[in-house]
């Protein structure tokens, strides 16, 4: 590892000022992506701004939302009663992230800002229509999850911006599911799917969201799958048709881990499973 200058500011304002003042300054959160990059000298920041002392680790339930600080650790997301109750998709997704040690230190903000194209949390956030809060030298702004992820390891954040929090609408009344396939437990998945399904009183799909990870540089929402479900009874046949419609619109690329054709096949199978589970959960929520 190449030595760097180290700062641990206590306020977001100070952290932003340090980022803005120095070219090549980098933020350090849990270090679970950054430290390997430093070890291999893929990243050589002159200055490291450690944000672990910032007051950004809270999970707060507000009206219709759960607000998650950027420093919420993966294991807190996994275990938080508020998250499990109000946005269970996040707890289900984060359980797939790495191993127990990654989840001890890794943070929500770090995972979203790092934006690995196969990472689970970006997919879940797009499916939940979350809003990201960022603070930079030019002030603060909100970015919808759907516009945040631009390309592999590339987000809408400017170099001097810090992701501070994520507002997640509660999925009360809807059923959600996250499924993935990885070669080994703890690996990044080849393909992942997040599904959110709301069913109305007549038993028809009022709204559906289907988002894939691992198929492109950023999470992919599937309009064809969602359209195939909306307004219809979510029968197994209808769900299978929706998953098939999703697949037909996808053109996943081939890489060293899997061929595009295999990824497309996985996308259909996993979408079917996710939609079935989300629908069953939506129906049991209705009864409760």
């Amino acid at each position: 590892m190449i030595p760097f200058e180290y700062h641990a500011p206590a306020t977001v304002g100070d952290a932003v000022a340090m980022l803005a003042a120095r070219d090549g300054a980098k933020l350090l959160a849990g270090g679970q992506s950054l430290v390997p990059a430093l070890t291999y000298r893929l990243a050589r920041p002159g200055v490291l701004v450690d944000i672990n002392a910032l007051p950004l680790a809270d999970v707060v339930r507000t009206n219709g939302h759960v607000r998650l600080g950027a420093l919420v650790r993966h294991h807190v997301l996994e275990e938080s009663p508020d998250v499990r109750r109000w946005c269970p998709l996040l707890a289900e997704a984060v359980a797939y992230v790495g191993n127990a040690r990654v989840r001890t230190l890794g943070t929500l903000g770090g995972s979203l800002a790092h934006a690995d194209p196969a990472a689970e949390l970006p997919v879940a956030m797009v499916a939940l229509d979350a809003r990201f809060a960022a603070v930079g030298a030019a002030g603060s702004r909100e970015i919808p999850a759907g516009e945040f992820f631009r390309a592999p390891l590339t987000t809408a954040l400017a170099a001097d911006e810090i992701l501070t929090a994520v507002d997640v609408p509660v999925t009360r009344g809807a059923g959600t599911a996250f499924v993935e396939l990885a070669r080994r437990p703890g690996d990044f998945p080849l393909v992942s799917v997040a599904a959110v399904v709301a069913v109305d009183r007549a038993g028809r799909v009022a709204d559906a969201r289907v988002v894939f990870g691992g198929l492109a540089g950023a999470p992919q929402r599937s309009a064809p799958a969602e359209d195939a479900l909306r307004g219809h009874e979510p029968t197994p046949e209808r769900i299978a048709a929706a998953a098939h419609a999703a697949r037909r619109a996808l053109r996943p690329e081939t890489d060293v881990f899997a061929s595009g054709a295999y990824r497309a096949h996985l996308a259909e199978v996993l979408a079917r499973r996710a939609l079935r589970t989300a629908t069953n959960r939506a129906l049991t929520v209705e009864v409760r």
């Binding site: 190449i2 679970q32 450690d50 191993n99 230190l105 437990p185």
Partner: protein, 158 residues
């Protein structure tokens, strides 16, 4: 920089640099060789320590992050010079071959079973998903942990 933390119950203060990892400091500064370096990228578990009671990869923990925290290595498991019952179970079941993975496996298993008393084989295997062993084939490791988990649950009573 000076970093202060508790290592196996004992307060420590080290003079170090911010680009060192906890693994560097344990091995090179403090001479505590029980934490091993396998992969240096968070995947193998040989460097596992408990950080405030939860497993962490010391190879991916920059040392400023341990300021004020509790670090436990496998040495922290002995009581009054005697092995921890989980360690005894590893000995009894022949769950150690070269021993390189053993400190990390012990710490991970201890954390998991204390959190999930009576954990079954499948749960134990899942919990150890991030700890690689190149020697044993895992069967005896899981045997040892399962036997200890059962005994600990039985002793705790219903």
């Amino acid at each position: 920089m000076i970093v202060r933390f508790t290592l196996n119950g004992r307060p420590r203060e080290v003079e170090t640099e911010p680009h060192r990892t906890l693994l560097d400091v344990l091995r090179d500064t403090l001479g505590q060789l029980e934490a091993k370096e396998g992969c240096a990228e968070g995947a193998c578990g040989a460097c596992t320590v408990l950080l405030d009671g939860r497993p962490a990869s010391s190879c991916l923990t920059l040392v400023p992050l341990v300021e004020g925290r509790r670090v436990t290595t496998v040495r922290g498991l002995e009581r009054d010079g005697r092995l921890h019952p989980l360690q005894e179970s590893f000995v009894a079941h022949g769950a150690v071959q070269c021993g390189f993975c053993t400190p990390g496996v012990l710490l991970t298993a201890l954390w998991y079973v204390e959190k999930n008393p009576g954990a079954d084989r499948e749960q134990i295997r899942q919990a150890l998903g991030g700890n690689l062993c190149r020697c044993t084939g895992y069967t005896k490791i899981v045997d040892a942990i399962e036997a200890w988990s059962r005994r600990a649950t039985a002793e705790a009573g219903p």
